[in-house]
Amino acid sequence: MLVWFHQRVPALLILSMENKEKILLAHGSGGSLMHDLIEKLFKKSFGNEILNELSDSALIKSLPAEGHDLCFTTDSYTVSPLFFPGGDIGKLAVCGTINDLAVMGAQPLYLSCAFLIEEGLDYDILERLTKSIAQTARQEKVKIATGDFKVVEKNNLDKLFINTSGIGIRHAGVKIHKETIAPGDKIIINGSIGEHGLAILAARGDFDFQSTINSDCASLSGMIAKIIQVSRGIKFMRDPTRGGLATTLNEIVLGSNFGIRIFENNIPIKEEVRAACEILGFDPLYIANEGKVVVIVAEKDVEVILDVMRRDALGGESQIIGKVVKEPKQKVLLQTRIAGTRILDMLTAEQFPRIC
């Protein structure tokens, strides 16, 4: 991984028509503009002893690896608009990767951060996003150890994409794995679903509806660390992001020798989310979340885990939403409000607002 250096596009200076400073192709060309950007923006915001070296790859000298396993993950982030109620793409890129480490039971330590930017982006957008990334990383005690920055010609991508990779460590004693799940285990979620997807949809403005719904975008690492500390009864965790809760539950039963039974009445959904879904014809079970985690726990530990979760700021509304069952295998069944039962399937295609 090269750190902030990589020449791909020819230097081409474009003067901004407005008074606003713009990101130019030259910012990504390895020349003085890029060095300025690294010094004034990235080093200033992210600066730490590893990054400040600006070497070709981050050198991490002492990983506390004795008795620990390493977890390593990567994710790319693209969202429109870049800023939305409850967050922005920067916060999302940090929290999303941290959460992927956290649900494995790992403590996140280091992140990489790579920007792909469309030429002509307002400089202050990059600045605000960088600050948001730095702030979120600081709060979560992770270091941005390495990074990259590319500018591509206008119209070759939509404003700005971010890729973050993350390294975390997990105590070798933590046995969080799908294979440990067994019938009788309980399924917990830490709060209400569907908020991120709807906040984005409303912010996008494609549909003439306004809402007070905020994205739930948050790092789950702190809350998860607390429950791991109190219980060895955590079997599995996953964050229900794209495809929503229904898709995550289906991923869990896929290829397994158990099924899942979910109780519709127990799934926390905010009133605004339910109302917006009613109007648009969406099913909140399929809408993306960015600060939720599905935790599968042994029945004997469920109370102690729920108690810890409910005392955390991100888990106040934690609920047992279902249980692992022996039959039918590899299926998710939903017990509806009127106590009917139906299959809850994976999201097969993007949801669209309906005609009538």
Binding site: D206, F207, D208, F209, L280, I338, R342, F352, P353, C356
Partner: protein, 364 residues
């Protein structure tokens, strides 16, 4: 949520089902009810209501999904419009994945054609105002529910002299399709669960000829589990007690006997009826709506020339028979194999109200 949760109440639903069991338990023949509207089909599956119904009540799904009954020829023409450089296609979301003879609007969009999804036809008007050098064509697909707002939009376009806004009308009206079904007597239908939204506009009178001439009882139903259960109970009561059939309104919190006069006036001012081609049902007299002469400047078909490919039907697809209630998706060899929501062969798999989509999503 008020006015919703009450209608999803487990206790009330169970009570109604108990009452229903009481009246149908001694009834010897099966009772076949058609839910005309696709939203009812979805609601029935989604709530798991089928698990509770008495064994001798059979529900079959009808043609009330606007996307599903829109024929390939319409889609081919819409796709041909989309391929014109100076055209922006504006549509409700359900339409964009429906396959035409050789493409769909989603594929066209991915090749750079301008296809935009909106939630209201008024958004199409704003798009026209924002793109004065483009012809903005709104795909008018829907039943009586959506026609009045489109009529109002066309009137606004006329008042504001917006010359680049057009409507490609594929609108249909429900009662003639119900007539076509009972006339054919296949499938046999003992009662209709009539659409709640359509009836909010047209009222209950347009169904009266069905009970009078064909002796099939009708109940206009809302969309929540309690609504649908109560409507089935009301129909069962009419059938078992062998009263002379009537049109009843279960969805009285929304539907009035006379309908919505203002909406109907708007519809009649801008649209007039014409014969229309329904997927699966063929051409049904007076079952479609076209734009009246006074507003013909906004009629895409009259104003924008386009060359359309020869329409082909997929031979294996039985959407037509499913829309008539003769077959279910389980009878289709393509169902869940080649035809899946991510790769739909027929329209009924695409729409959120489609019978195949309902069976796929909830019916295993």
């Amino acid at each position: 949520m008020r006015y919703i949760d009450e209608y999803r109440d487990r206790g009330i639903t169970q009570k109604l089902i108990k009452k229903m069991l009481n009246i149908v338990s001694d009834y010897s023949s099966p009772i076949v009810l058609m839910e005309v509207c696709g939203t009812h089909t979805m609601s029935i599956f989604r709530s798991g209501l089928r698990n509770y119904l008495p064994d001798n009540i059979r529900l079959i799904s009808g043609p009330g999904c606007p996307v599903c009954v829109t024929p390939n020829s319409y889609l081919d023409k819409a796709i041909a419009y989309a391929r014109k450089d100076d055209v922006i296609i504006v549509t409700f979301g359900d339409m964009i994945r429906v396959p035409g003879s050789s493409s769909n609007l989603e594929k066209e969009k991915s090749t750079g054609r301008q296809v935009r999804v909106v939630y209201s036809c008024l958004d199409a008007l704003s798009i026209a105002q924002d793109n004065p050098d483009k012809k903005v064509i709104f795909l008018g697909v829907g039943f009586e529910t959506t026609v009045p707002t489109l009529a109002a939009t066309i009137k606004i376009a006329k008042e504001k002299k917006i010359r680049n806004f057009f409507v490609f009308s594929g609108h249909k009206v429900i009662p003639p399709a119900m007539q076509a079904l009972v006339k054919e007597r296949s499938p046999h239908i003992d009662g209709f669960i009539c659409p709640g939204h359509v009836s909010t506009i047209i009222g209950s009178k347009p169904y009266e000829f069905i009970v009078r001439d064909y002796h099939v009882p009708c109940v206009i139903a809302g969309f929540e589990p309690v609504d649908v259960t109560q409507a089935i109970f009301m129909l069962a009561q009419q059938i078992v007690e062998k009263k002379s059939p009537v049109v009843e309104i279960q969805y009285s919190r929304s539907v009035k006997e006379e309908g919505n006069r203002k909406a109907l006036d708007l519809m009649e001012e801008v649209f007039e009826s014409e014969d229309s081609n329904w997927r699966g049902l063929g051409i049904i007299p007076e079952s479609g709506l076209k734009i009246k002469q006074a507003f013909s400047d906004f009629d895409a078909e009259l104003s924008i020339e386009v060359e359309v490919e020869m329409t082909k039907e997929d031979k294996g697809c039985i959407c037509g028979a499913i829309l008539r209630g003769i077959k279910t998706p389980l009878d289709c060899v393509l169902f869940k194999k080649q035809c899946r929501p991510e790769n739909p062969i027929g329209a009924c798999m695409v729409s959120s109200e489609g019978t195949c989509a309902a069976y796929f999503k909830y019916g295993k």
